[in-house]
């Protein structure tokens, strides 16, 4: 995908993640400068998680999602959720914990899911950048209220 088109789509989608939504969900917006979208989740129990979505080539490819601490350092371990989306094993490509869910680059490039093509969900409402983040947020909410 041409970078200008990728950037335009990224900026259009990110512009809709407005202050009302951030406030309602308790999200912190760290970065929305193409190609990086960084959002922090905060829970009432004090737990926090920062997600770095590398959106180069959006939406020809899904974002690469990295778990980070609040200061932006990559996490070497993550609490696993009941659904198994937050996968604590080392991804073959990154060697780090990864998001094992449709919509994350690490899922679609994992040897176990290589046949589950991004193209089958790409462009649907559930798999916009906001949709992917919302799914991850609900995973987070299943661990932290």
């Amino acid at each position: 995908m041409h970078e200008a088109a990728s950037r335009a789509l990224f900026e259009e989608e990110v512009s809709k993640i407005g202050p009302d939504l951030l406030h309602l969900r308790g999200w912190t917006l760290f970065s929305k400068e193409f190609p990086v979208l960084e959002i922090g989740f905060s829970a009432q129990d004090g737990a926090r998680l920062r997600l770095n979505l590398m959106c180069d080539d959006w939406n020809e490819r899904p974002p690469s999602v990295q778990f980070q601490d609040w200061e932006g350092r990559p996490l070497s371990a993550i609490q696993r959720d009941p659904a198994g989306v937050f996968n604590n094993s080392a991804h073959p490509a990154t060697g780090k914990p990864f998001v094992c869910m449709k919509g994350a680059r690490e899922y679609h490039t994992h040897p176990s899911h290589i046949a589950d093509a991004w193209e089958t969900v790409r462009g649907t409402d559930k798999f916009t950048l906001g949709g992917i983040l919302t799914q991850l947020w609900h995973v987070w909410r299943s661990l932290h209220k």
């Binding site: 989608e13 969900r25 659904a83 198994g84 899911h113 409402d125 919302t134 609900h138």
Partner: protein, 91 residues
């Protein structure tokens, strides 16, 4: 529009595609089903496929096929509307 003396709620729908209504809240009768404003929001915000989406109010999942009253909602209601968590891949 709510009728005179009818109990009402002030509602808005918040999504990652935008907010409905764009400003303020819609005042609706308590007995109206939540789905009505969800459908209006979907149309206005150009959301076409909501299979697997959930509505959450104050951290609690609600049933959009029931009324505000049946969902125990009153006053100002902010509906967080979006896809539920995805399924893990067991990698």
């Amino acid at each position: 529009m709510a009728e005179h003396n009818e109990r009402t709620v002030d509602v808005r729908v918040i999504t990652t595609s935008g907010v409905y209504p764009e400003a303020g809240f819609e005042t609706l009768p308590e007995h109206e089903v939540v789905k009505t404003i969800i459908e209006k929001a979907n149309k206005k915000l150009h959301i076409t496929n909501t299979n697997g989406w959930i509505a959450v109010v104050a951290g609690r999942k609600i049933d959009i096929n029931r009324s505000y009253r049946e969902n125990g909602l009153s006053g100002r209601v902010e509906i967080d509307w979006g896809p539920d968590h995805g399924a893990g891949g067991d990698a």
